[in-house]
């Protein structure tokens, strides 16, 4: 019997015996995710329950799709879904583009001191929380005494009220997103460039290829796996937003809501005084399912191009 399993080279047991050590090395992480991620995942049922304290998660009565109703009846579901999708796509593309640009430019810099200094500087925004950024932005841009408008008025021009113009925000928000995260993102690409084989570059250089040509033909293609993995990871979060950024920078500003409303801000506004677990779970589930569908599609496309690059 045992020999039969052992001889069956496709078998589960055979694999376990052959690579047992490797699987054992995976165990700590596996156990962690089982406990801290899969176990609580059963709580998805809360989205379909009328939660009460005595019944808890399992004992509370079911209420079908009732928790989703506010979401659908708000009449804004389509709009916020599209907004979320567009903003996050914009963020992801801008983030990747600037991270790569910064990483390549820094890695080509001659001076080590400059490399270090610039990188540290680019990292600073990561530490400023959105609440503080919001106060900063308000102080820079507000109509009455903002630094920018003081200057603009000084030049004899009309002051700008950015908080009244919905068209500006699709630019302002990605700007701050990149501002906050580019230091973070470029680190990965720097590491990836550092891991690249230098010989290729040298050979090409001797052949007379200039640096721009080498970046296009050697550096960038080698960054492709990193780009794809970041893309896939980003797509997996595409329906969740930087809630804090939207909430703090924009505020609940009626004039900007149509242009800046994402799923998370809609849910926050609707539930701010409700304290209802079921309703917030329902929104979370909606986001999860959309993310799931989108990632399956994107991963499928990647898989067709290059199987080894796909996430799963």
């Amino acid at each position: 019997m045992t020999t039969k399993i052992l001889h069956n080279r496709q078998g589960f047991l055979f694999e376990m015996i052959r690579n047992g050590r490797l699987y054992a090395m995976f165990m700590p992480v596996a156990v962690y995710f089982l406990i801290f991620a899969y176990l609580p995942m059963t709580g998805i049922v809360v989205a379909f329950k009328d939660f009460n304290y005595q019944g808890g998660i399992w004992g509370s009565p079911w209420n079908g799709w009732d928790n989703f109703r506010y979401f659908i009846e708000s009449g804004k579901l389509v709009q916020v879904t599209i907004n979320t999708l567009l903003y996050n796509t914009l963020f992801l593309v801008a983030y990747l583009f600037f991270s790569i640009l910064v990483a390549i430019l820094i890695s080509e810099m001659g001076s080590r001191l400059a490399k270090k200094t610039f990188q540290t500087m680019l990292f600073l925004p990561y530490f400023i929380s959105w609440v503080t950024v919001s106060a900063l932005v308000y102080n820079l841009f507000n109509y009455e005494y903002g630094l920018m408008n003081t200057l603009v008025k000084g030049w004899g021009m009309e002051a700008v009220d950015i908080y009244a113009d919905p068209n500006l925000w699709p630019v302002i928000l990605p700007f701050f997103y990149v501002w906050k995260w580019v230091g973070f993102g470029s680190v990965l690409f720097l590491a990836s460039i550092a891991g690249q084989d230098k010989e290729c570059h040298e050979a090409a250089s001797i052949d007379g290829a200039n640096i721009f040509y080498r970046i296009r033909r050697i550096t960038l293609p080698q960054l492709k796996p990193t780009i794809i993995i970041l893309l896939l990871l980003g797509v997996g979060r595409i329906m969740r937003g930087e809630f804090d950024m939207f909430y703090q920078l924009v505020g609940t500003n009626g004039n900007l809501i149509d242009a800046t409303d994402i799923i998370d801000t809609l849910v926050f506004r609707s539930l701010v005084s409700t304290q209802d677990f079921g309703m917030s779970s329902a929104a979370g589930l909606y986001q999860s399912i959309l993310c799931f569908v989108i990632i399956l599609a994107v991963n499928g496309i990647v898989r067709r191009q290059d199987k080894s690059q796909a996430l799963f």
Partner: protein
């Protein structure tokens, strides 16, 4: 060997003694809102010293931060462990949580038995207000806050421009115009996000409509002086015209630059910028304005108070359930917890300790019995400022008057008893369970379509109001109103 035994016996004795002490002191865990000021630990130590002597209990105090309220407050109750009592209030979803079974039911007998002082100090209507479907789940405060909403303006500027005293927010136009014209550096009204948003609008609207008070958050309010508990929809005639008139006034103020352009992104509240001289009008209530008044007086602004009242000259008194405590449904030591709360809520020594801290450290008394700061302690450095620690349910009648009260403020306090009237809806707790989806939609509509109208940031008032009405309709406000009426009818039958 003998020595060894001796040592052992000492050890054993020590162990016994320590477990004995643990057994004697019952640990009671409570939750308050906000975050304790820096001196909290010292006060808690002093409190526990007293508690140990008086009833053999030890209080462990935890805080639920302001913006964790929506998530952590229900979570702590859902976990139900390590919690004996928790701050509760009508504005913090008391009814919702009680209906879901978060709190232990209390009866008058239980209260009489374990909280004799509090039972004596609390009028019977307080317990009626705390009733949800006929059952009590909260210990309401014996002394509700006595406060009214108000605006403050700068008396020095008003006099400088030769304007008559202002008694109503509607009479501010001349003052705002003069300030705007003569002081380019001052923003007449610098509203912050949150609290400030609806303040000027409703202050103006109050002059036009019956005395209204918030019922559920949409456009329908309760007439708080009407014994018949009638409802007022401010978006229906005869009030719609008034609503539009006020909206137009706000729009003109906004366009003239009397109000800052982007209150929604401004984190500095109007009263803070007023205190620092950045703006000329501040909004607040008669309790939280004290600090602003003394600061403004010190800066020579000569602050003048404009009470915000309904057209009858009244303001609804806070209910007893505006501040209170609930016992967690699974509390094991609820008897001791009630006894402890009886001390904290009613005993003069305990009340002074939890509310004002340690005498000589965070407060002192003047020879004539007024409350003041100890020598060398400034308001900023006070380790335990009043109100900050969150024991808002303590008996406020025990508080001494304060040395920093300005004459205008003392005058206002005297007037309060004529201004405050009983809110006829005070014992009614709306149970939102059946219409929670509709309420969520309405909350959403109000912030998107009502708030811009209320600060005047709309280009066409008629159109904006029409949109608001249509959106409230599609958010099914009618259904909520029907449910509200049904619950009212059932409650006041």
């Amino acid at each position: 060997m003998k020595k060894c035994l001796h040592l052992l016996s000492i050890l054993a004795f020590g162990l016994l003694a320590s477990t004995g002490i643990v057994a004697q002191e019952t640990k009671i865990t409570g939750y308050l809102l906000g975050s304790g000021p820096s001196g909290t630990q010292d006060v808690l130590d002093a409190l526990n010293f007293k508690l140990k002597a008086d009833m053999g209990a030890k209080l462990e105090l935890n805080y639920i931060g302001w913006n964790e309220l929506g998530s952590k407050y229900p979570l702590v109750l859902a976990a139900g462990e390590d919690v004996d009592w928790v701050y509760a209030a009508s504005w913090n979803g008391y009814a919702t949580q009680a209906v879901r079974g978060a709190f232990k039911e209390l009866t008058p007998e239980i209260i009489q038995k374990y909280m004799p002082r509090h039972w004596k100090a609390t009028p019977s209507e307080a317990w009626d207000q705390a009733k949800i479907n006929g059952k009590i789940f909260m210990i309401p405060t014996s002394t509700p806050d006595r406060k009214i909403p108000l605006a403050v303006i700068r008396g020095d500027l008003r006099k400088k421009y030769g304007l008559a005293p202002v008694t109503n927010v509607a009479g501010l136009e001349a003052y705002l115009t003069a300030v705007k014209k003569n002081n380019p550096a001052i923003i007449p009204i610098n509203l912050g996000s949150g609290y400030d948003i609806g303040q000027p609008f409703f202050a103006l609207l109050n002059n036009e409509v019956p005395p209204i008070n918030f019922v559920f958050g949409g456009s329908v309010f309760g007439n708080y002086e009407d014994k018949a508990h009638s409802l007022v929809d401010i978006l229906e005639e005869p009030y719609l015209t008034a609503f539009k008139k006020v909206a137009n006034t706000m729009k003109s103020w906004y366009t003239k630059g009397f109000i800052n352009k982007a209150p929604f992104a401004n984190t500095v509240l109007s009263k803070q910028s007023f205190a620092q001289g950045k703006s000329a009008v501040g909004f607040g209530n008669s309790l939280d304005i004290q600090e602003v008044l003394s600061k403004a007086t010190a800066s020579g602004f000569d602050p003048e108070i404009i009470p915000i009242l309904s057209r009858t000259g009244h303001s609804p008194a806070d209910s007893h359930v505006g501040n209170g405590v609930a016992i967690a449904a699974n509390s094991k030591n609820w008897e001791k917890t009630l006894q402890l709360l009886d001390l904290i809520m009613e005993d003069p020594d305990y009340v002074m300790l939890v509310y004002f801290g340690i005498k000589g450290k965070s407060y002192d008394l003047t020879p004539d019995g007024k409350l003041t700061l100890p020598a060398g302690v400034t308001p900023e450095k006070n380790p335990y400022p009043q109100d900050a620690a969150g024991f808002w349910f303590a008996k406020k009648d025990l508080f001494p008057p304060q040395a920093t009260w300005t004459s205008g403020y003392i005058e206002l306090r005297k007037k309060l008893k004529d201004i405050l009237v009983v809110n006829t809806f005070v014992d009614f707790n709306f149970n939102p369970g059946k219409v929670k989806n509709e309420l969520a939609s309405i909350a959403n509509v109000i912030s998107q379509y009502m708030d811009p109208i209320s600060i005047g940031a709309v280009s066409d008032v008629d159109k904006a109001v029409a949109t608001l009405i249509a959106k409230l309709k599609s958010a099914n406000q009618d259904k909520v109103v029907a449910e509200l009426k049904a619950q009212l009818a059932a409650h006041y039958k």
